[in-house]
Symmetry: C2
């Protein structure tokens, strides 16, 4: 020691970073697909799209759902949230994912935490048939509280269902709601203020009126609709999709219906999952606020011709997802109407 400043003094442990990199490299290799042509550790990840196919890219983060993972000290679920959210976002544009890249930022790198996060990302990538091509693990002292991190990701896919992007819709088309797997990844600032703030619950406390814990409900991963919708998409039976994320049904269905149609959504046409009943009761928020914030049990809405409704419901249910006719399109001006009996 000569009194010189070293990187370790500055809070960055390069050795731990190298050891972690080796573990992450294994996880990444396990997601390799035919599209990938580079090895782990290159400056940029190389991949091939099918010549002539248009590509679609999307970026997203997990948001404040991460705080629940920190409280529960459980880090293997947020990767699925991120990957599946991104996969759903490009599916709406008619694309299947080719590659995914992650950005994990923390104050001081905890190798077990980062490995757990990346194992979740890798498993979700494999489940969606896409390669975890690479990413960046950033150690940023003084940016993140101890034990905390941020997680963002980026997906590139190629158009497999071009019809979806054309959105040829007409009055009389039916809206099919696909069940969400829970709160997915939006509304978590509201959720935290309610459950952890107002109700004073901890991650391991029982969820009100349920057999499982608060974190079991609040960490349930955002579901991917890719394999669920695959058969109907291959058959060309889906005219448009809306991924129900921030803004809820009103704020996402309006993005696909165009300027000449309105959507009528009957908000009592599907069984409302228990957690949304609890949120409604305990927050006192009105229906409009709830529907503008949460998916309320519907994570994706498919627009189909009336004649195809039965077949599409059958295909979706056959793939293991509940689905309901939840409304229809009428002539109008781009508005979404929420109605209940």
């Amino acid at each position: 020691m000569n009194g010189g400043l070293t990187y370790r003094d500055a809070g960055v442990d390069l050795e731990a970073a190298r050891a972690t990199k080796a573990r992450l490299s294994e996880l990444v290799r396990g997601t390799r697909t035919d599209a990938v042509s580079s090895d782990f550790g290159s400056f940029g990840g190389r991949f091939r799209a099918t010549p002539g196919r248009e590509l679609v890219a999307s970026a997203d983060g997990v948001g404040t759902k991460l705080k629940i993972a920190f409280m529960a000290d459980r880090h293997d679920t947020v990767g699925a949230d991120l990957v599946n959210h991104c996969v759903n976002d490009i599916l709406v544009e008619g694309a299947r994912p080719l590659i995914f890249m992650d950005y994990v930022a923390c104050g001081v790198l905890n190798p077990d935490t980062v490995t757990s996060v990346v194992s979740g990302l890798a498993a979700a990538c494999r489940a969606n048939g896409c390669a975890l091509l690479g990413g960046e693990t950033a150690e940023m002292p003084d940016f993140y509280a101890p034990g905390e991190y941020d997680l963002a990701g980026f997906v590139v896919g190629e158009i497999a269902y071009p019809k979806l992007a054309r959105r040829e819709l007409a009055p009389g088309d039916r809206l099919i709601g696909l069940a969400s797997s829970g709160i997915h990844t939006n509304g978590y600032s509201f959720v935290r203020a309610l459950f952890l703030g107002r109700l004073g619950l901890g991650a391991h406390d029982p969820f009100p009126g349920a057999e499982v814990s608060v974190s079991d409900i609040l960490l349930r991963p955002h579901r991917s609709y890719l394999s669920i919708l695959e058969r109907s998409l291959e058959a060309g039976r889906v005219r448009a999709l809306a991924h129900i994320t921030g803004g809820g049904i009103p704020g996402n269905v309006d993005r696909v219906i165009g300027g000449d149609l309105d959507a009528v959504v009957r908000s009592d046409s599907w069984p409302r999952p228990h957690e949304f009943d609890v949120i409604a009761r305990e927050s006192g928020a009105d229906e409009a606020e709830l529907f503008a914030t949460f998916n309320m049990g519907v994570g994706m809405i498919a627009v189909v011709r009336e004649a195809d409704t039965g077949k599409v419901l059958e295909e979706i249910r056959g793939a293991g997802c509940e689905a309901f006719i939840c409304g229809e399109l009428i002539a109008g001006g781009g508005k979404v109407h929420l109605e209940s009996a």
Copy 2:
């Protein structure tokens, strides 16, 4: 008010977010290129690559250089850091950028700050001929200190210089060092511990021995080498490139030379920029530590055949960048030797 919890109570202002989105949309539209086929606001950004060309993707963050931007309250330079870093990373693989996506995360969205960040991203995208295809602006209460944010980005490019990825290198090849524009984006935890910690300087204090401020030196953007190297790359005169980032010259040149060659780098063969002299003197760190942490004045190293050296130096200098012969390849086993007279 009915006592119901609203999103604004939970610290998220959806109106401010919408207003900011409109400003960002303008900035993004200004970067549109022929590759882009989607409009702002779609779920995923659509783009086309040239059929048959291989693609390269890379993810990166700005790291703790952001803390200097916070201190100086200057947010229009970090976008260039991020875009140029990503562009250089895929250039090394032989790729030119097609699209870029950003991830900006903050506690409470400050519209002016986010707009300033995105204006920097957009300007850097335009300068590199790539489209800012979209991104995610995440408002995450309790994650980031007031006035702070994190910034990450993802680039996708297509192979334009396939020779670079093949790395056909031989003993006797020359190393050409291209001048950095300063500290670029690595070593900032060290830099902060030294200048702000040990030396107790503020962002607007004069930089030791310089006419300009600490933040003027420390925020100077990471340079893009794309247009600088374009002529030599088009002419096929560059055999390999190493982007000098985290790990410095030893930790990046070793990634391109392969297992049968060593690189000899003469560390006194270029003028060392003033800031690195100050860092060396004030930190007391030895040369090995400095070279493993900082670019030390060389932001990119090009490997060229001896016969092409003069022409490549001329082309790089003609594009406005200083360049120096800083070493050569010899038979060996994948090691990088730093030597000085």
